[in-house]
């Protein structure tokens, strides 16, 4: 059933580095007649500290987010990784804490953007763009924690003028892994170099993902090597190709 309103949790990486992707996600929701609430002061899902084992710090940050989204409305997140953190790891992070119940209730309301667009809103898209070849990077947490595969691919398939050239190793990690990228820079660099080579061989002009952190990594490496392909969040790509001008 379509809710009259949803919360939007933009994520820190989108807020700072890919704001257009966040706005595009909001516009995709609003076009379907959903009121979008964007609580100011929201920051980060707390995954960086959680994954590094600094759980007290992660809890402090998560607690602030939970308080900003009090009403019983879906919390739509344009990132499989941050959605996975909030949906699957908040209950674990708050286990035994006084606000455990609030964390569990919040976690149950978290939905990834493309899953919300497809499974709740059932969006139909009309492609207004010219012919274009893109490729898809299935971000690990989206794929393996949130089961994100059919939804983003289904949305792309609705675009008649877009050809998807698959990567040879679509399901392989791009090497970001949060602090992994700076703790083990040589391994991370080797991984992203392979991903860039894969994007280049696909012949795509755009590499799409539903996770901005992967795009920060892949995009930065594409730029460093001077490759022509550019990174784009799926929400921004969908919005730009389907909006009425």
């Amino acid at each position: 059933m379509k809710p009259e309103a949803v919360y939007f949790f933009g994520t820190c990486v989108v807020d700072l580095f890919f704001p257009e992707a966040g706005l595009a996600g909001i516009e995709l929701l609003r076009r379907e007649g959903v009121r979008v609430i964007f609580p100011r002061g929201q920051t980060c899902c707390a995954q960086p500290a959680f994954n590094c084992g600094h759980h007290a710090e992660a809890r402090a940050v998560a607690r602030v987010q939970i308080a900003l989204f009090p009403r019983d409305l879906p919390v739509v997140v344009p990132s499989g990784s941050c959605a996975g953190m909030m949906r699957h790891h908040y209950p674990e992070l708050f286990a035994g804490e006084p606000d455990e119940a609030a964390a569990i209730a919040f976690a149950g309301r978290v939905v990834e953007l493309t899953q919300f667009l497809v499974n709740v809103l059932g969006v139909r898209l009309t492609d207004r763009g010219g012919p274009e070849t893109v490729t898809w990077h299935s971000s690990c947490h989206g794929l393996r924690e949130m089961g994100l595969e059919a939804e983003p691919k289904g949305l792309l398939a609705q675009l008649g003028n877009v050809r998807v050239a698959p990567l040879t190793r679509e399901r392989e990690c791009c090497g970001f892994g949060g602090t992994f990228s700076v703790r083990y820079p040589d391994i991370s660099s080797a991984m992203v170099a392979d991903k860039v080579a894969d994007v280049v061989q696909s012949g795509a002009s755009v590499v799409l993902s539903a996770d901005a952190a992967c795009l920060l990594n892949i995009g930065g490496a594409l730029e460093k090597t001077g490759a022509a392909a550019r990174p784009m969040h799926l929400a921004e790509f969908l919005w730009e190709r389907t909006r009425e001008r």
């Binding site: 704001p19 979008v36 930065g220």
Partner: protein, 478 residues
């Protein structure tokens, strides 16, 4: 291991491994092959889920009853005529094996593949004590010839190319000519090993599963060397970790089917040995004596720690390493541990302690590929995160060896700063503005920025944040 400090460091060894293009190509090719073969064995996701759920539940039930099952195993084995020995440490286990050999005047040994024997560094120990210990698994034989350790738990010589093996055989085996023909190389090894099987005074093997109900030792293998090592010499010594027991005979098949399919993409292994005791009266073959050495080596401590106990579900299939993007790029030796890859990154820090191996829980991008393919559903990434937590903090609640051993005050400070910037909207805004103003001045010269920019450009904060855009659009705040 670093020669100067004697300490282990995955940072240095993995960086070094990445500089070897042939090593990286060998692993990539081999792992691609193993992944394709495994995937072909589990074409139906519903069946896969059912199989691994059953295997995981058997392993979980086993661990829930572990002490009782081990006692039952000992009683049943003893009744079958198998002599059971308990070893708390690898030193204990080595002494037990040596004692058995000495009592029989045995100076020549053939070995089937056993990861527990790798934990014990059994070959080195025996050589020092005047016992010849020869690996009979082809891969193990190859690396023993070259003085190496396994780089993979199933395919110990996977890091070597055919050419490297050809050169090795030509140099080290008397009468062997240089050839890259795989059949010829195998025939050479077979010729050497055949003779050794008949000369050996004792055989050593691992154990894939030990059945408490019947006192049966289950051994899977593909070369027949396991059967030769356990049946031809007059004494057979089987080595197992305490976690390898299962309750009933009917628990074996569900584990074997996910083990062989996950490990090598085989529906069944070429050989399946069920060893239930020494040669009985009137039987024509089999050893006169069978010994079972059951090793703890830190496993009891893992068993007692609910946060990480699922580590002991492992059936040693190696699928987690085959699918690991980190392992694939650096190979097994970079881990400087008996068990490499994701399972090693959770097991080694627990057995050796976090003070020594706090580098390993971070040797993962947490991509979850290992969790996705684990046939007994070990939550590897969750355990990695738990170990990261227990490494960064010391607490009496943490039962792991060496808790707090990876604590770094500078990192603590960084996380404190991160927390402050993300709990206060005002400070977050200040940080966001700071990135906008000072970000372009950072040239990526030092620390994490340098690490990031070795392969990527510096991220640039957008001129307007999503917060700015949301306000411009007049989006409601609550």
């Amino acid at each position: 291991m670093s020669a100067e400090t004697g300490s282990t460091d995955f940072h240095a060894s993995s960086s070094k491994a990445l500089l070897d293009p042939s090593l990286r190509a060998n692993f990539r090719r081999a792992m691609d092959g193993l992944m394709a073969k495994r995937a072909a064995q589990f074409p139906d996701p519903v069946e896969w889920d059912a199989l691994r759920t059953l295997a995981a539940s058997i392993r979980a039930r086993t661990l829930a009853k572990l002490p009782a099952l081990l006692e039952a195993l000992e009683a049943r084995c003893t009744a079958n005529g198998i002599r059971v020995h308990w070893a708390e440490t690898v030193d204990d286990a080595n002494e037990i094996v040596l004692g058995i050999l000495r009592a029989r005047g045995a100076a020549r040994l053939v070995k089937g593949k056993s990861m527990v024997s790798e934990e014990m560094h059994l070959n080195d120990f025996l050589e020092k004590n005047g016992v010849e210990s020869l690996e009979s698994d082809l891969g193990e034989y190859i690396i023993q010839l070259d003085g190496e350790t396994p780089s993979h738990i199933i395919m110990p010589a996977i890091h070597k190319s055919r050419q490297q093996i050809a050169r090795l055989f030509g140099e080290k085996i008397r009468g062997a000519e240089y050839t890259e023909d795989v059949d010829a190389l195998t025939a050479t090894a077979r010729r050497v090993l055949r003779r050794k099987f008949f000369e050996a005074e004792a055989g050593v093997s691992g154990v894939n599963i030990a059945v408490a109900e019947t006192g049966t030792l289950v051994l899977v293998e593909n070369e027949g060397n396991g059967r030769m090592s356990t049946h031809v010499p007059p004494v057979h010594i089987a080595l197992m970790g305490i976690e390898k027991v299962v309750e009933k005979l009917e628990d074996v098949a569900p584990i074997l089917t996910v083990l062989t399919r996950s490990a090598t993409g085989q529906p069944v292994s070429t050989y399946l040995n069920l060893i239930s005791g020494p040669r009985g009266p009137g039987e024509k073959d089999g050893p006169g004596e069978v010994h079972l050495v059951i090793l703890d080596n830190g496993r009891s401590r893992i068993f007692a720690d609910q946060e990480v106990a699922a580590t002991l579900r492992c059936i040693r299939c190696g699928a987690c390493m085959n699918y690991c993007p980190v392992y694939t790029r650096v190979g097994g030796h970079a881990y400087e541990a008996v068990y490499p890859g994701p399972i090693g990154s959770i097991l080694t820090p627990q057995t050796e302690g976090l003070a020594k191996r706090h580098d390993l829980p971070h040797a993962s991008s947490l991509c979850h590929a290992c969790v996705e393919v684990c046939p007994v559903k070990i939550p590897i990434t969750q355990i990695l995160v738990t170990l990261r937590k227990e490494s960064a903090h010391a607490s009496p609640e943490f039962l792991v060896k060496g808790a707090g051993g990876g604590r770094d005050r500078l990192e603590d400070l960084a996380w404190w700063g991160w927390r402050m910037a993300h709990v206060s909207p005002l400070l977050y805004k200040a940080m966001s503005l700071g990135l906008r103003v000072f970000g372009p001045l950072l040239k990526g010269g030092a620390g994490p920025l340098k690490a990031w920019t070795q392969a990527r450009t510096m991220p640039r904060r957008a001129p307007r944040t999503l917060h700015d855009l949301a306000s411009e659009k007049g989006l409601p705040d609550a």
